[in-house]
Amino acid sequence: MTQMTFARAINSGLRKSLENDPKVILMGEDIGTLGGVFRVTDGLQKDFGTHRVVDTPLAESAIMGTAVGLAYRGYRPVVEIQFDGFIYPAFDQIVSQVAKLHYRTQGAVKMPITIRVPFGGGIGSPEHHSESPEAYFTHTSGLRVVSVSNPQDAYTVIQQAILSDDPVLYFEPKRRYHDKGEVDEGIDPGAALPMDSARVVTAGTDVTLVAYGPLVKTAKDAATAAADEGISIEVIDLRSLAPVDYATVEASVRKTGRLVVTHEAGQSGGLGAEVAASITERCFYHLEAAPVRITGFDIPYPYSKLEMHHLPGLDRILDGVDRALGRPNSLSGLEG
């Protein structure tokens, strides 16, 4: 076991993948000499060369479109989108090509492309640097979408994503890049928990709290705070956003009877709506209360001085937990 930061853990996972498979190729803006604007690819070009770790021109559609061509040719491209808000120029290639080629060719063509996206807010950045675009992609069939929440997962899941024959969007919570944790680099990604499985992070009995990516830490902190008040929260890290591992969530809700889902992305049409609806369908008779969503608002990501109002914090989550439990909360007395 080694203590390392989140960013370092991804770097280490990428290194392993580059070592294990000569067909793995990294592409993106500033990922070479600079090692990426977050230094996630630091040192990789030096060790693997400019043909394996490629600084590309500034053209996201081209980065994604050429990755498609490389995949046709048997490569496993890992592309970096510098920030969440810059993925949109590549959107057409991702949803029309990357996502659909396997289906279009009846399985003849594989698209084992990993798309790394530093995402989410909380770092005081300007516009386009703090977005949570995951729902656009979870809505597109053919894509797998994951988001990691701790260094160990970061390390193993990046390798699983690269090994996957399906295209994977790998959302990295950039505000956690510097968080440290234990990482077992000896772990075999094939034997580890599969990337499409959710994980119970904190066991509990009163409420199921579903989170992913940057908010898993906040959810865990909320569970700790709630425990002081005698409330037992079961925190689930979804890990896979498409497909969602409903079996794990369902088992938890059958036990607790209450569901709170939290994410930074806006509420309407977001993943929380999907989880709430699916769980309602699957275990309606086990629910003691309507599922609660604690999310970002349906607004463009706000300027940095106010971003903490948009992002779900510990107290807003606990207020949602109170609502699910029928305890006094900020909406007490309101209908619906």
């Binding site: 070479g32 008040e229 608002f297 463009p300």
Partner: protein
């Protein structure tokens, strides 16, 4: 292959005014007084940039994209524009904003994180800075198509970097501009770097030659020469005004500082390169020219110094004195009218904040409970 085109130059790095039969006529109105005024602008803009960088280092701004070294490209072009021309720029053109008359405090608003945009584009005929690389070139082209439809003779001018020329948007903008012969000027500040990526990674040929492939005539100008930039911009504006369609200008300059205050250029850039470019400093050469002409009197020197210091003081006090936005401001202007989804969220959030004595506690990551 491309021809290795020489730079249009009117002032040498040593400060010597050299003649250029084709471009001299375009700046023949720039007499001693105007030259001193350009020197003032260059100096003031550098002072603004230094002050803003300091403000960032002191935690007053979240981020700042320095324009150090690019003053002449911005002043030369910015001062060539007419009031009714319209600018679509990237995040680095604070010097152009100054030339357009943008209030100095407004320049810092976005970087302080108190607003999504610092000014109303229509008050200064300049769109607020674009962060998505190259997107503004399409906006300028569309605006130019509108000018054309209206039968007006103003011009849309768009600023972007060398890296931006790789983006689809910029290439598509050039297709539209050429097809419709839109009155738009593409002003590329080739500062040699796109964060860590050298210009040679973006283009195998000289940037100016890219445009010609789209059927857009181009000029390659010494971007550290304020007069040459002004002349080239005037040529392009004149062509656009008189129905001659788009022009592409490559201003060859250099980013002497980091990409932004979050960047560390020592990781990718050779110190010698910086030294070579320091010798071509855009302000030094105008200063040298003024000295040669005996125009840099103590009075001029003092005036320019005082002006720059006053502007720096203004920007500092304006920035620091800026009130923080109100929490509920985040819900403003998402739509032009009421929206039932958002109204509900807003109402709920107001109730939530009311349930706290201290709203600051309600938003910390650690929580108040």
């Amino acid at each position: 292959m491309s021809t290795d085109r020489n730079l249009i130059q009117l002032i040498t790095p040593a400060g010597e005014r050299i003649s250029h039969p084709e471009f001299d006529p375009w700046v023949k109105d720039i007499g001693d007084e105007q030259l001193c005024s350009l020197y003032e602008d260059l100096t003031v803009i550098r002072r603004i940039d230094v002050e803003a960088t300091a403000l960032q280092r002191q935690g007053e701004l979240g981020l700042w994209p320095p324009l150090l070294g690019q003053e002449a490209a911005q002043v030369g072009s910015g001062r060539a524009l007419r009031e009714d021309d319209f600018v679509f720029s990237s995040y680095r053109e604070n010097g152009v904003a100054y030339c357009r008359g943008v209030d100095l405090t407004d320049i810092t608003r976005v970087w302080r994180g108190t607003a999504s945009s610092g000014w109303d584009p229509y008050t200064v005929n300049m769109a607020t800075p674009q962060i998505i690389i190259g997107a503004q070139t399409l906006h300028a082209t569309g605006y130019a198509m509108g000018i054309q439809n209206d039968g007006a003779d103003s011009v849309a001018v768009t600023y972007f970097g060398d890296g931006a020329t790789s983006e689809g948007d910029v290439n598509e903008a050039m297709v539209f501009a050429a097809s419709f012969q839109a009155p738009v000027v593409f002003f590329c500040s080739n500062n040699h770097w796109a964060i860590s990526e050298p210009v040679r990674l973006q283009s195998h040929i000289q940037i100016a030659d890219r445009a010609t492939g789209f059927g857009i005539p181009s000029l390659r100008v010494d971007g550290n020469d304020v007069l040459a930039v002004m002349a080239a911009t005037r040529v392009a504006l004149d062509r656009a005004r008189h129905g001659g369609g788009p022009t592409f200008i490559e201003a060859v300059t250099y980013r002497m500082g980091p990409h932004t205050t979050a960047d560390d250029p020592t990781r990718y850039r050779d110190a010698n390169e910086l030294e070579d470019w320091a010798a071509k400093d855009p302000i030094q050469r105008v200063k040298a020219l003024l000295e040669r002409k005996g125009l840099l009197t103590d009075q001029v020197r003092q005036h320019v110094h005082d002006k720059a210091e006053a502007v720096a003081r203004d920007i500092r006090s304006g920035c620091i004195g800026m009130p923080d936005p109100e929490p509920m401001d985040i819900f403003k202007h998402v739509y032009s009218g009421p929206n039932s989804w958002l109204d509900r969220q807003q109402d709920h959030y107001a109730r939530y904040l009311d349930s706290f004595g201290d709203p600051a506690g309600a938003t910390s990551e650690e929580g108040a409970r």
